[in-house]
């Protein structure tokens, strides 16, 4: 929808397509200059934080899993890590490996969904995945098969794919049967091949020439690509524990949104997610993923957000390879969960959701009842970086007609796979110019 005079024009798009959930995007252009950009989202984590107070710490994985249908494991894992931190619980390596396997399932499912059904149509001139499927059925079938494999991993380890029920603070209610885990190997081998084909496919897309100079923030780990644990690092040298990072993150309330916008102390914006993880951890990818990245022309750092689809595809290779490694090494952890003894205190847990860093912090009393809860999802951390991209993309595209400009701006949002379904329900785009 378009409004406006010569000096000022307004474009409304009812709902940004292919972004998980709802929100709205407003771009204000005066005299040919982008004056203001705001991405507004509604954020249920705020509601969940209030809901959690007074509940038992053991309930956090089940309750917070319901924040998001796309990345429930991320919420469960960060919740468990935070409560275990508060209680001083040590979890065995076998349990951590099983968590990592479950999380790989979520990465595979989420990345396949975003690459094939939400992001790729942008580059192929297709309105959406339906048009893509009608144009190239085989490629969409490959994406759906990848997604199914991710679901299968989540069902096998987590009991079910949406809102897994086998996760508890300390570990799992029961360790999956070794035969069931072994049966994942064959689908994962096929998924690895499909993931490699995915990298090759997306690396051939035409990408707008665009560079963004974001401060990258991601978990890092001395000897593996980060998913379920690690310290928090940044492209400008930060190296802190999850707790130290939570101390640095300042959330500001923004009037136009129920979401809080996160910044680092001192007002520094930052970006989490695949581009950040890759920039800080590319050297810890397995050889097969490194080779795929090199063949796709990715250097050690990717600074073009439109190419995030290539990084996501490389992470898909990694997740399939890592899941296969964990499946082949699997021994049921015994016991399947560590005993968690409540004590008064505070704990922080940070893990890498497919979309980026997600951290939880809880204060609990001596009986294990939650006194305060803080949940900071990747999308609220990325919001300022997404707006910075939008500002530059919009400024560079003002010669486009309204529809094309709105479309380009939607693409700039989709580059970061924002999970607004954690949130709310429609994304309206408004351009005033």
């Amino acid at each position: 929808m378009t409004h406006g005079s010569a000096r000022r024009r307004t474009v409304d798009v009812e709902g940004i397509a292919r972004v998980e959930g709802e929100g709205s995007l407003h771009i204000d252009v005066h005299d040919g200059v982008v004056a203001d950009v705001s991405l507004s989202i509604f954020e249920p984590p705020r509601f969940f934080e209030a809901l959690l107070v007074g509940r038992r710490a053991a309930e956090t994985p089940d309750i917070t899993a319901r924040i998001c249908g796309i990345c429930p494991v991320a919420y469960q894992m960060s919740a468990c890590a935070a409560i275990e931190d508060a209680c001083g619980t040590t979890v065995s390596e076998g349990i951590w490996d099983l968590r990592r396997l479950l999380y790989c399932g979520e990465w595979i499912e989420s990345h396949a969904l975003h690459i094939y059904l939400l992001h790729a149509p942008d580059f192929l001139g297709c309105a959406d995945a339906v048009e893509l499927a009608e144009h190239d059925r085989a490629v969409v079938e490959r994406g759906l098969a990848l997604k199914r494999t991710g679901n299968l991993v989540m069902e096998t380890v987590g009991g079910r794919a949406i809102h897994p029920v086998n996760v508890r603070v300390g570990g799992f209610y029961s360790a999956p049967d070794p035969a069931a885990v072994a049966a994942l190997a064959e689908p994962l081998r096929r998924a690895l091949d499909a993931a490699l084909a995915t990298v090759e496919w997306v690396s051939g897309f035409d990408f707008p020439d665009f560079q963004a100079d974001h401060r990258f923030v991601a978990l890092h780990h001395p000897d593996r690509y980060p998913i379920e644990s690690g310290r928090v690092g940044s492209s400008d040298g930060l190296d802190v524990s999850a707790s130290g990072f939570a101390d640095l993150v300042v959330e500001e309330h923004v009037a136009r949104s129920t979401a809080l916008h996160a910044r680092l102390e001192g007002g520094l914006d930052y970006l989490t997610g695949p581009m950040a993880r890759y920039a800080l951890n590319a050297g810890r990818l397995p050889g097969v993923a490194r080779q795929a990245a090199a063949a796709a022309g990715l250097g050690p750092v990717c600074t073009n957000p439109f190419k995030s689809i290539v990084v996501r595809a490389v992470e898909l290779v990694f997740a399939c390879h890592e899941a296969l490694r964990l499946v082949e090494a699997y021994e049921p952890p015994d016991p399947p969960a560590a005993a968690v003894l409540p004590r008064a205190g505070e704990g922080t847990g940070a893990t890498e959701a497919p979309r980026g860093l997600l951290f939880h912090r809880y204060r609990i009393d001596a009986d294990g009842v939650i006194e305060t809860a803080r949940i900071v999802p990747p999308t609220s951390q990325n919001q300022r970086a997404i707006e910075a991209d939008l500002r530059r993309v919009a400024q560079g595209s003002l010669d486009l007609p309204d529809d094309a400009l709105a479309w380009r701006c939607e693409q700039a949002v989709r580059n970061h796979d924002p999970c607004i379904s954690c949130a709310a329900h429609f994304l309206d785009v408004t351009v005033d110019r």
């Binding site: 998980e20 319901r66 249908g69 499927a133 079938e141 949406i162």
Partner: protein
């Protein structure tokens, strides 16, 4: 053929979020249906129609239950056959939906890759309050049993 015929695959999916008050109507009805009819597989609760992909594959009948807001009295139950409305705007369509890709597009996608369900029935339960919070409003809560009974009848009638 009965609902328990093992050769016939019937799935039911509740769309919605029980932490958004009446948005939880879909999962509540779907759960009730699955409890009544053992052979019916409950896929939900689902947050997004895309979650149906891979789960409703090759079903003879998929019943998708979602909260809607059409202006009818809260608790009103309406049924549409998705093939009869797909591709065109539906008067009083289910606008209160949290979902980026519409159900009809997801069905088209599933069929484009050859494994969509034979028939999809959409059961809308008129909601009242979609704000943050737990629990259905009284009129919607009272409608859950009726809606579940209606779905069971639809499953029985579909041959």
């Amino acid at each position: 053929m009965s609902p328990t015929d093992p050769a016939r695959r019937v799935v039911v999916a509740g769309m919605g979020n029980e932490y958004r008050r009446d948005d939880g109507a879909g999962p509540a009805v779907a759960g009730r249906v699955a409890a009544r009819l053992e052979a019916v597989v409950d896929l939900g609760p689902l947050a997004d129609p895309l979650d149906l992909l891979g789960r409703w594959d090759d079903a003879d009948l998929a019943v998708v239950v979602d909260a809607v807001r059409t202006g009818a009295p809260p608790g009103t139950v309406a049924v549409v056959d998705l093939d009869e409305v797909a591709g065109r705007p539906v008067a009083g369509a289910p606008v209160t939906s949290s979902h980026g890709i519409g159900l009809d597009r997801v069905l088209r996608l599933a069929r484009a890759v050859g494994n969509g369900p034979r028939r999809v029935l959409v059961v809308g339960v008129e909601g009242d309050d979609f704000g943050d919070g737990l629990g259905l409003t009284p009129a919607v809560a009272r409608a859950v049993d009726d809606a579940a009974r209606r779905v069971a009848e639809l499953i029985e009638e579909d041959r």
